[in-house]
Amino acid sequence: MIEQIALTGNESVALAMKQINPDVLAAYPITPQTEIVQLFSQFIADGELDTEYITVESEHSAMSATVGASAAGARALTATSANGLAYMMEIVYIASSLRLPIVMTVVNRALSGPINIHCDHSDAMAARDSGWIQLFGENAQSAYDNMIQAVRIAEIEKLPVMVNMDGFIISHAVENIRPLSDELVKKFLGEYEAKYRLLDSKDPVTFGPLDLQDYYFEHKRQESHVMESVMGTVLKVAGEYKEISDRNYSFLEDFMINDADIILIGLGSTMGTARVAAENIRKKGIKAGVINLRLFRPFPGEKLREILADKKIIGVLDRADTFSLNGGPLYSDILNVLYEQGEKKIVNYIYGLGGRDISISELEDLYIQLDKLKDSAKIENRIQYIGVRE
C-alpha cells in the first residue's frame, strides 16, 4: 500500500479515476476542461488502462457519450469545469432523469463573464437542481476519497454523482495524500452490473421515450423520492470506506461545534481556512465552530436542524451569488432548514467570487462580527459581501 504521496488535486482525482478503471470515459480536451482528463489519457496511452477513451467535439457531446455508455451498461465517467458544465447542462439533466450512475468531477470555477477561470461555486450551483447528487471536497484527499465513494453511491442509487472540488486552490495545489492501493479500490467497487442495459438484445429496454403530461410528473416524483434513500446510502458507503481507508466521512464534517455559540458553515476549500480561524479566535474567548458541508444535494436538512438547534448565530459562507437580493444558494437552504427554529440569527457572507482569496484574518473578523451580533436585537445587514472593494 502506498503510504503518502504528494499530488495536486487534479493528479489525485486522475489517480482515483485510474483505480476506478471505468469502461468508458468521454471528454473534450480543451479549455475549460482540466488536467484531469489529460492525465487520464496518458494512463491509457501508456497502456496502463483498457478504458474506452472517447475524445468528443464538445462538452455537450462528452456528457452525451457518457449517457450513451452508461445506458449501455458501462461504468462511465467524465470530468468538466465551469463553462464546460454549462455547455453540457442539457444532457446533465438527461443523465439524472434516465437514472444513470455516471460520476463526474467538476473542478469548480467561475461561470464567466467577465472572463474568469478561477475558483467559485457558480458552476456547481447552476447544476444544483439537476437531480444529481453533489459532493464537495475540502482538499485533494477528500476529492480523491469522494471520487471513489461516488462510484458506489451512484451505482446503488442509479443516480449520477458530481464530485466537486475547488478550482486551482485544490486542483493545482500540491498536497500530501494517502491513496488506497489499486487492489483495495477494485475490491471496494466490485464489478458493475447494470440492472437495465440498452444493448441487451435478449431483454430489450427503451431508454428516453417521450414522456408527456400523463407520466412525466410521476418520473420527476421518483427523482425526488430517491433522494431520501441517498441519505442513507451516503452514510453506508462512508462506513464501508472507513474500513478500508480509516478515514471518516459523513454528510458534513464538524469542528469544535459541541460547545460552540457561533458556527460558520460552507463548502469546499475555505472550510479548512475556517478551522484555523476558529482555533485562533477561541483563544480570544469566542466559542467558534465550523461545519464543512460535504453533501449539498440532497441537502442534509434533518442533520443540520439537529446540530444547529442550540446555536445562537450562524454565518453562511457562499462562494456564489444568486442575484436575487436574497443571498447565496447555501444561505437559502440554511434558512429553509432552520425556519421552524424561529429565533435564530443567520448571516450570509458571499465571498471569493472569481477566485478572490479569503484569508484567515478575514474569517476571524467574521467570527468577531457574529459574536457581537449574537446578542444584538436586530441584524441590519443580513447579506454581506466579503473581500470586495466598495
Binding site: S97, R99, P204, V205, T206, Y215, Y216, Q222
Partner: protein, 102 residues
C-alpha cells in the same frame, strides 16, 4: 385510460424506462381523435387501400375481409376516408352518432 387507471410513481419503472418490448399497441391513441372514420360496409369493395394507407394499423381485418376501424388506436387522421374510392369510410365529428343511410 383515465388518470386513476394509470400507474403511480411508486409502481412505474424508474427513469421513464420501458421494460417490455412491443408495447406500442397498449397505448391508447384513440383519445386523440377530433373526427372519427365510420365504416359503411355496403359501399366497401374490399380493395384494402384503407388497410394499406392507415399509419396506425387501425383497420380491423377478419378472415381476409375489412371489418371496420379499431377505435382504441385510430387517431382520426382521415387518410382512410380520403383515399377510399367508394366512400365506404366517412369522417364525422367524434361526438356525433352516425346513422346509416337508407
Amino acid at each position: 385510460m383515465s388518470n386513476k387507471e394509470k400507474k403511480g410513481w411508486k409502481e412505474l419503472p424508474i427513469g421513464g424506462l420501458i421494460l417490455n418490448s412491443g408495447n406500442a399497441s397498449d397505448y391508447k391513441t384513440g383519445t386523440w381523435r377530433v373526427k372519427k372514420p365510420v365504416y359503411i360496409e355496403e359501399r366497401c369493395i374490399q380493395c384494402f387501400l384503407c388497410w394499406i394507407y392507415c399509419p396506425d394499423m387501425a383497420i380491423n381485418v377478419e378472415n381476409g375481409e375489412v371489418k371496420g376501424v379499431d377505435y382504441y388506436h385510430c387517431k382520426g387522421c382521415g387518410i382512410c376516408a380520403r383515399q377510399c374510392p367508394t366512400t365506404a369510410l366517412e369522417m364525422i365529428n367524434e361526438d356525433e352518432n352516425y346513422e346509416k343511410e337508407g
